[in-house]
């Protein structure tokens, strides 16, 4: 029997915990379950394609598989903005997982992504959280913050009154160290750690800016269809398991990483004061409505989200 080899371009750098925990895990699972008949050749961030070109490369069938953030395809897939995280929507990771899998949100993403000849599978849901150099104690503190941000969250933080600015990854550490910016978000705890942010910013801010399915696998539909049936089943099952396994594991590792950061690097967790939290929640609903304007499907997804949040008692309807 022939061995199937897929080229996989990741958007994670090698040192990112997800490169081993998500991608290498999937590789090992597939090799074990197929007796080595299905092999993924992993390439870390930037090796073959820049992160934002991965989706195009998969869609064209140049590579069979990749990992992306849905934020990269916001202009092609109207619900990707919701997938990559509406600010201050979910309060717990399980809520985002339930919304994706049990309420059919992931199916909506899949339907839209399928138009590009791509199969989409969320790797995990997890929070995005800020780290800052000095604690935020009032609305005035928040509004005087210079925060390194990007994309939709940068828009949101700007609307909310902070000075949000975009800096590319390599500029982030020196900028935070010298005070060009006072705060930043890069994933949550593990992300901040991987970028060395706790060396120069000691306050970790709760609650999360968003909780979302920020990492996903994208697979060329043609490549998927060309797989022998047993391999395809093994792959699809492995991806489904992966979501639940990784979401839970990531939550655990966040907590462990935070405990270690507190103990070893003197990091303190601070909560946003009520006035700031309320201010941000109010600004957030405006951001949500913007996403709904993207398409009928986006409006439907937001409607679904709002009724879910109302059922949970997080918002009034």
């Amino acid at each position: 029997q022939d061995t199937v080899r897929w080229r996989v371009q990741s958007h994670w750098p090698n040192a990112s915990s997800s490169f081993s925990d998500s991608l290498e895990r999937l590789k090992t699972t597939l090799e074990t379950r197929t007796d080595g008949r299905f092999v993924l050749q992993l390439h870390e961030a930037g090796a073959l394609f820049p992160a934002r070109e991965i989706f195009s490369a998969v869609s064209r069938g140049v590579i069979e598989m990749g990992t992306i953030s849905p934020a990269y395809i916001r202009d092609r897939v109207s619900v990707a903005g919701i997938a990559s995280g509406l600010p201050f929507a979910f309060r717990n990771t399980w809520e985002a997982a339930y919304f994706h899998k049990n309420l059919g949100f992931e199916e909506m993403i899949r339907a839209e992504v399928a138009e590009h000849g791509v199969f989409y599978a969320t790797d995990k849901v997890y929070p995005t959280e800020m780290v800052v150099k000095s604690p935020i104690e009032s609305l005035a503190d928040f509004e005087s913050l210079k925060i390194r941000s990007s994309g939709a969250l940068q828009e949101f933080l700007t609307e909310a009154g902070a000075a949000a600015t975009y800096l590319p990854g390599p500029e982030l550490y020196p900028a935070l160290a010298t005070g060009v910016v006072d705060g930043a978000h890069w994933g949550a705890v593990q992300g901040a750690k991987s970028m060395g942010l706790y060396e120069v910013a000691k306050y970790h801010v709760h609650p999360a800016l968003n909780i979302a399915g920020t990492d996903a696998f994208v697979i060329s539909q043609d490549a998927l269809d060309a797989l022998p049936e047993d391999l395809r089943d093994i792959l699809l099952n492995a991806l489904e398991e992966q979501f639940w396994f990784r979401t839970n594991e990531y939550t655990y590792k966040e907590q462990i990483a935070l405990a270690a950061a507190k103990a070893e690097q003197g990091v303190q967790v601070t909560r946003l004061p009520d006035e700031v939290a309320q201010h941000l929640a109010a600004a957030a609903t405006a951001a949500w409505e913007k996403e709904a304007e993207k398409s009928e499907m986006a409006a439907e997804a937001l409607e679904k989200l709002k009724s879910f949040l109302a059922d949970l008692g997080h918002i009034e309807r």
């Binding site: 090796a47 820049p50 934002r52 390599p170 500029e171 010298t178 060395g196």
Partner: protein, 436 residues
């Protein structure tokens, strides 16, 4: 075809077409395209276009045109001339003094800038003509710019260190701190080499005849020439350290300082700006097109399965931990002759680092060895960025052969520096231990 044969053919083709005189950008790009076609299929060409788009969006590259423009303005405004006249008046009695001074300026530049290319082009523009005018040996002069121009990646801030930490999970702050003393060590060793060489062979870096060394009042007046360059250094370094600007943005402050200096020298004119812009355009275009093609080249090699080759190599290593560390450096050294630093990092580090850590070595220390090795790679033939950047600015009388030959003793000195850091790890890890 086996991966080993493919590797030989891939780099063989690179060297063959380079020697035939095809510009580097077309050699790198063309060899990538041909090999991608045979190993992957024409669909893979999409990679070339898409890597190019990625490089166009790289913010850190913006520092290149800005620092080059700064250098062109300083050159045209006569600031550079005054600075070297001053150095000659003060250092005139010291053989090789201008070259040592140049290496010193390179170190300051290294602290102002996180990448290598800008420093090479800047110093090649400012320092090289001044040294040649004063009858310095061209290989001595070219080599010291080649070597000093690479300081930017060892002396913080450094983009290469940040990439190293992203790939390996090492602390950026510790790496930055760890680079300082080895950077100074390199400065001392290279200056020492120049001083000794010129003492033995005075014609390489002739001293100023005693009657031209000037009186004390002339020397003091000449000191004014330091004021404007110092102002620029203070603006750029101050804005980085003071949290005013990122290292890339700080380059814009350097340009502002250069334009101000030109105004002080009464040289600020439309014609000067026009000429400086055109020369900046030529150099930046050349540099970034090489980067475009170099990224495609190392991506193509990775697409061919380079990492598997390195993996096999590592699993077959005999001998103890030290033999392994040395062998790693040898592998990196040879790769750096033909590949760009980012490509080498992506191919080797994920394989090497787990081994280094498992053997109980400090990844920060290994990082410094790696980065010194990258610095050497910037100037080892046949393909080193510094060599080609320098080739882009030197007068036509200087050939690539001169540039290639010029690096030999400096490479030896830098290997010595690497060996010293290897034997005395404290040089690298003492400062981060104190700071963190």
């Amino acid at each position: 075809m086996s991966l080993e044969l493919l590797t030989v053919a891939f780099f063989g083709a690179l060297i063959f077409f380079l020697l035939l005189g095809l510009p580097l950008v077309f050699v790198l790009g063309g060899v990538s395209v041909v090999f991608l076609y045979f190993t992957w299929g024409p669909g893979a060409f999409f990679m070339v276009a898409s890597q190019m788009w990625g490089s166009m969006g790289s913010f850190t590259l913006l520092a290149i045109p800005l620092f080059v423009f700064m250098a062109m303005v300083l050159e045209r405004a006569g600031v550079a001339q005054s600075l070297y006249t001053m150095m000659h008046l003060w250092w005139g009695g010291v053989r090789g003094g201008l070259a040592i001074g140049t290496v010193g300026i390179c170190a300051i530049f290294g602290a102002m800038c996180g990448i290598s290319g800008a420093a090479v082009v800047t110093m090649g523009t400012i320092a090289l003509p001044r040294m040649l005018e004063r009858k310095y040996d061209k290989e001595l002069a070219l080599g010291c710019i080649n070597a000093g121009g690479g300081f930017g990646i060892l002396i913080p801030p450094s983009i290469i260190m940040i990439l190293y930490s992203l790939i390996t999970g090492t602390s950026v702050g510790k790496l930055f701190a760890a680079g300082v003393l080895p950077g100074l060590l390199l400065l001392v060793l290279i200056s020492g080499y120049i001083a000794i060489r010129c003492r033995l062979q005075p014609h390489l870096g002739p001293a100023l005849p005693p009657d031209e060394r000037g009186t004390w009042s002339e020397k003091l007046v000449a000191l004014r020439a330091v004021a404007l360059p110092m102002l620029i250094v203070v603006m750029v370094l101050g804005s980085i350290m003071g949290g005013v600007a990122t290292p890339t943005e700080a380059a814009a402050l350097g340009v502002a300082g250069a334009l101000f200096s030109a105004a002080v020298h009464r040289q600020l004119s439309w014609g000067m700006i026009r000429e400086a812009s055109l020369r900046t355009f030529r150099l930046t275009g050349m540099i970034v097109w090489i980067l475009f093609a170099a990224h495609a080249f190392s991506s193509a090699y990775q697409g061919m399965g380079a990492q598997d080759l390195v993996q096999d190599l590592v699993s077959g290593i005999p001998g103890g931990p030290w033999a392994t560390i040395i062998l790693f450096q040898v592998v990196i050294f040879f790769m750096a002759m033909v590949l760009d630093p980012l490509g080498i990092m992506l191919i080797t580090l994920p394989v090497f680092l787990p081994v280094v850590v498992a053997m109980g070595f400090d990844p920060v220390w290994f990082g410094i060895l790696f980065i010194i090795n990258m610095e050497i790679g910037y100037m080892t033939p046949p393909f080193g960025f510094n060599l080609f950047y320098l080739k882009g600015i030197v007068p036509p009388s200087i050939k690539m052969g001169d540039i290639y030959r010029s690096v030999v003793p400096y490479v030896a000195v830098m290997i010595l520096a690497m060996a010293i850091v290897m034997v005395f790890p404290e040089i690298a890890i003492w400062l981060p231990g104190v700071l963190f």
